[in-house]
Structures are given as structure tokens and as C-alpha cells.
């Protein structure tokens, strides 16, 4: 189920502006890869280009290759909608569908796949997904209530349940804890640890302790100055990045020395 991602010479544009330049990296299946770096360095942009969400913005485009187990996601004839069904995404701010109940939120992706499922199978899927997101015990008695009535941390776990309900190959997380309190953050981090048994996870975070706690590999993005494109400075084992990185810039960033 979990698949590997190969990125080669990827340039990402907003219109004519080159936002991220020449990224090459390999992400192994069933691992957690953290992307760190200062604000505006293009980590979120890079993350969004993995499931072709980048091109939703008018004028945004990508040059280069991203392969999912050898299949070029930007190849001719590849439907971005199909890509997004294989690669789930969790956003910075929890975004359950406010007009849907908790139950309907979880099965929203399944509904899109037009799979006719029996009620019992759907019930089972909802329970499995909510258990997978460590949310089942908190919401099992109010599945018909709107998802927007939950706390921020619960909403984010609901979004994770929604993303894993369609059993994607990869799970992308764009600063999933930055709007949450420390206890909810801990809950999500524990969840990430469990989820990596089944999924390939890529997480963007500003929190370096979080990157150190949850990830197996870490990629450091940096930007030389405003108006310049962001670049992948280096990528390695999380331990190596945080103890003896190859680049001086990485060491400065992870140890809190800048400039």
C-alpha cells in the first residue's frame, strides 16, 4: 500500500516566478519524512506539488518529475484528480466539511470514488478510520453531529481519518499541528508513529523538536534571499541532520543560529 516517491530536478513556479528550484529526493515507503526550513522557503509549495494541489492556484505549474513507485505523476494523460485520490493530504488548519456530520466527513472520499457500499461496510469503514485516527472513543456517540463542533485537535484527527478512509498510498501533512495545543499535538504525533506502518508520510513542520521526534528522514529547505527560489539544501537521516549535518547552513538552522 505504501509507495515510494522519487523527485527529480523539480522546479516549481507561480506564474513566471520560480518558487522552488531543482529539488531531487527519494522518499522510502513506510517512513516519515520531515521537511524543515524557514518560512517562505517553499516546503509547503513542494509538498503541494506532490499531490498536484499546487496547480489549483491559477498560473502555478511544475517542471520536472515526481514518480510514485515509478509512475510519473506529471506524465501526459495523468489525471490530477486520480493522483489526489492516491495521495492524501492534511492541512495546516483543520478543515472538516462544516455542512457534513462526522460520519459523512469520514466517508466523503469514498463517496467521491463512487463506490456503492453497503451501510454495514460504511459503518465499519467509519469506525476503522476513526480508530486509526485515535478519535473513535471521543466521537462514537455523536457521529451524526457536525464535524465543526469538535475541538481543534479533534477536527484535525477527523481530517486525518477522512484522509486515511480512502486508503491512500501516501499521506502529506502540511504543518498539521501548528494550530493545535501541546496535548493535541502529542496525540497527532503518536498517531503519525502508528500511521507509518501503513503509509508513506511526508510532513512539513516549523517545529524542529517535532521533526526530531516523529521523522525518520529530514529534508532542509532554505532560501538565499527574498525573490530567490527555495532549494533543498540537504536530506538525510533525521539523526544525522540534527547531530552532524553535511552543510553549515543546516547546522546553523537546526541549532538556532541564523545568518
Amino acid at each position: 500500500m505504501a509507495k515510494s516517491i522519487d523527485v527529480a530536478n523539480l522546479d516549481i513556479y507561480y506564474g513566471s516566478f520560480l518558487a522552488v528550484h531543482d529539488v531531487t529526493m527519494t522518499i522510502k515507503p513506510q517512513t516519515v519524512t520531515a521537511l524543515i526550513g524557514p518560512s517562505g522557503c517553499g516546503k509547503s509549495t513542494f509538498l503541494r506539488s506532490i499531490n498536484r494541489m499546487h496547480e489549483v492556484i491559477p498560473g502555478a505549474r511544475v517542471e520536472g518529475r515526481i514518480e510514485l513507485d515509478g509512475l510519473n505523476l506529471y506524465g501526459p494523460g495523468v489525471d490530477p484528480v486520480a493522483v489526489r485520490r492516491q495521495i492524501g493530504m492534511v492541512f495546516q488548519r483543520p478543515n472538516p466539511f462544516p455542512t457534513m456530520s462526522i460520519y459523512d466527513n469520514v466517508i466523503a472520499g469514498m463517496r467521491l470514488n463512487n463506490k456503492k457500499m453497503k451501510k454495514a461496510a460504511l459503518d465499519d469503514l467509519v469506525e476503522r478510520s476513526l480508530r486509526g485516527a485515535n478519535l473513535w472513543n471521543e466521537v462514537k456517540d455523536r457521529l451524526e453531529k457536525p464535524g465543526s463542533g469538535l475541538s481543534g485537535g479533534q477536527q484535525q484527527r477527523l481530517c486525518i481519518a477522512r484522509a486515511i478512509a480512502v486508503q491512500p498510498d501516501v499521506l502529506l501533512m502540511d504543518e498539521p499541528c501548528s494550530a493545535l495545543d501541546p496535548i493535541s499535538t502529542l496525540a497527532i504525533e503518536d498517531l503519525i508513529n502508528e500511521l507509518k506502518n501503513d503509509y508513506t508520510i511526508v510532513i512539513v513542520t516549523h517545529n524542529m523538536q517535532q521533526a526530531a521526534r516523529v521523522s525518520d528522514f529530514t529534508g532542509f529547505f532554505n532560501i538565499e534571499g527574498t525573490g530567490k527560489p527555495g532549494k533543498l539544501v540537504e536530506m538525510d537521516d533525521t539523526k544525522t541532520i540534527f547531530s552532524q549535518p553535511a552543510q553549515q547552513a543546516t547546522e546553523d538552522y537546526v541549532s538556532g543560529r541564523f545568518g
Binding site: V56, V81, N95, T99, A108, L112, S148
Partner: protein, 317 residues
Amino acid sequence: MSTTTDLKAEQRAAKPVLQLGDRIFSGSAKGAGILILVVLAGVAIFLFSEAFPALVAPASEIRGGNGLVAYIWPLVFGTLLSAMIALAVATPLAVAVALFITHYAPRRVAQGLGYLVDLLAAVPSIVYGLWGFAVLAPASVGFSTWLNDYLGWIPLFAGPVSVTGRTILVASLVLAVMILPIVTAVAREVFLQTPKLHEEAALALGATRWEMIRMSVLPFGRSGIISGAMLGLGRALGETMAVATVLSVSGVVTFNLISSSNPSTIAADIALQFPESTGLAVNTLVTSGLVLFAITLGVNMLARYIINRRREFSGAN
């Protein structure tokens, strides 16, 4: 112990400190709110007092000679029928136009189109009436004949087909064009406000653009569509000149949309009859106005009820 109790009593008694500007603003806002109520109450009192003589008059003295209900009922029917048809035609069209402007059209096309739709609202209603009378009515005869030939078994299109085309169907279509801009404008505004977050949530799950619209834009815009439709319905119910110009009336109650005998509407009837009315006839017309007032009030309350019923799921929280 007693001192703290005293202190608390003192705090309760003390007035909150208010800046002068705050006081002026809250006063004028309160005044504006009260003014609305006063105007509304004034209108209601006028309607009731002027309608009263007609309400107590014997049936034979009312125009038509069969009493108030017999006079007003066909008008109520015509008002509701034409407004409902207009709404049924205009709302889906308005939602489609608004979706095209906000989610499908390239930015430049969208701006131009939005501007054009707004221009529709600036056309005076008498112009719509003349257009309906001189252009749409004659042009509709062929279409009505076709409807009658092939769908004549539906009571709506039973015929006989009006040769002038001045039917309630044409009047309703004119009304639909007239309410299109307001419904479109409201729908467009609320579609534009759909949080990017919700749209992206749907897209990231692998929704196509239409599925994204169905999952995030339409549910978010639901209450906006309803309020836009109700605004349009209000305009359609009260529209006077266009209907008075287009419709050839005969005071019947019929669902037949394409024949030459059509029910009039309350507003059009008042406009046509008022100049020649005196005494009790005026009171009768005011009574029909009171009924229109009540219908509009009812429509708006129903709309509020529909919007509030699903407030929990509205996305406002």
C-alpha cells in the same frame, strides 16, 4: 465579609463608563432600528384601517358582486403562480451563472459577465414590460403552440393557445429575467466567500471541480441561495408595471399557462384599477394590498426558518 458584599453591590449599581462617541453611535444605531419598526407599524396600521370598510362591507357591494374573497383569491393565485414560475426558472439559472462567474470563467470574462448581469438590474421594470409585450409575447406564440401540441395532456399547457402571447407564462418569464440579477448577485457573493480551506479539502480528497462545488461551495452557499431566491421572490410578488403591461387578464383561477384567460396579480391589479376607483373600491384594493403584505411577510419568515433550521451545519461556526 460585609465589606466585600458592599463592594459587589456597589459594582452592580455603578454604571459602566462610556465614551461620548460610543454613546452617540449606540444611540443613533438604536434610533435607526426603532425607525424601521415605526415605519413598518405605520404601514400595517394604514393597511388595516383602510382595508376595514371593505372587510365589513356586504358581499354584493364589492367589485364583482361576490364578496371580498371571490375578488382577491384569483389575484392571490395569479401572484403566487407567476412568482413561483419566475423563481423556478430564475434560481437554477442564477446559481449556474454565479458558479460560472466564480469558479469556471477566466477572470476577465467573469468580470465582464458579472457587470452585465448587474446591468440587467438597472433596466426599469416598464422597459421589461414593453419588451415582454412587444417582443417576447409575439415570439412565444410558436413555442406555446408547440407545447400545446406535444405536451397538451399536461393541464399547464392545455390551451387553447393565446394568439397574442400575452399569457401568464410570458409574464412569469419576464419576471424571471427581472429577478435573475439579484439572485445571481447574492449567490455570486456567497460563492466567492467559500473558504479556500474547504475547497482544498475537497480537491485534496480527489474531487473533480464539479464534485468540489457540490461538496464545499453549494453547501456553504445554501443559505445565501435561499436568501437570494427569497429576495427575488419578494420582487416578483410585488412587481407591478411589467406584469400589468404584459398580461391579458380575466380574473380566472387556472393552471393553464398559455391560454388567453389569465389571473391577474395583486400589484398589477391595484395599478390598473386604482386610477378609476373611489370609495369602497379603494378599500377593496387596499385589502388586496394587505394580503400581498402578509404573503411577502410569510415568505420572508419561511426563508428565515429554512436558513436557521440548519444553522448548526451552516459553516458560520
